[in-house]
Symmetry: C2
Subunit: 121 residues, 2 copies
DNA sequence: CCAGTAAACGCATATATCTGCCTATTGACA
DNA sequence: TGTCAATAGGCAGATATATGCGTTTACTGG
């Protein structure tokens, strides 16, 4: 789909919106399956059929630095007798991205532009 | 299907056989999914389509005392990054059942027959 | 021997995450 | 503007276990 790097896709917006809403309610961390259900119920992104799409979207958001993730403590999942969850939280960058509706470019070549275009790796 | 209590069903025989074979090789404990694959590959029980059938068979074997189960340590599953397994091992009773091809009645009303027929619950 | 019923089976789905593979879409560039 | 390529989406399946529900099978009792 040759993504435009500054724009958020509908599904990504849905995720961030759901997550921020959850955080407002009091749940600071979320996980894929729960978001999937919420999006599906709310018709957020015209129904995601499988879950693959969502998990890949989460990967993208993580790569963009808009969310952070950690694995749930294994004992907790064991106690609740269910598969282990990967817990996500929206970063400050993520919140800004949602508010702006666009990705604040993480490597700010915008203002400073050191060496203008030199490979920073 | 109105089970005859003394007989083992094909799937139950398959499970016990696979498990005992595994034990002979050196793996004393097994788990549902692995057995499912082995049975499916070996055409043990004319292909089990879903896994529900197998897990219920395992429950029955456990209830009969032919296998024992325990949950895998959560940290181990976490380290291997996969869902937690329920580990089974064939009991002595189970081995005997497999050898005999029938269930040695667990509550031996056979020989002793104390009080002949009194409710033992 | 036949009817009634208990129990096993098959299929679907829930819980959770992730990957592969093919298709559809779209931004970028000529 | 039209083509190319990068990427997102969709479907399926792997990893594990478990339950609900309708159908089928087979045992048991009359």
């Amino acid at each position: 789909m040759r993504r435009k790097p500054s724009e958020l896709l509908p599904i990504e917006l849905s995720i961030l919106a759901s997550a921020v809403e959850l955080a407002r309610i009091g749940t600071s961390e979320f996980y894929g399956y729960a978001i999937a259900k919420e999006i599906r119920d709310g018709q957020g992104a015209k129904q995601l059929t499988g879950h693959g799409t969502l998990y890949r979207a989460l990967d993208r958001l993580a790569k963009l630095g808009l969310v952070e993730s950690r694995w749930e403590e294994p004992e907790l999942a064991a106690r609740d007798d269910r598969p282990r969850r990967r817990l996500y939280r929206v970063t400050a960058l993520g919140e800004r991205a949602l508010a702006d509706g666009r990705v604040p470019d993480a490597a700010p070549a915008a203002t400073t532009k050191l060496g203008h275009g030199l490979a920073t790796s």
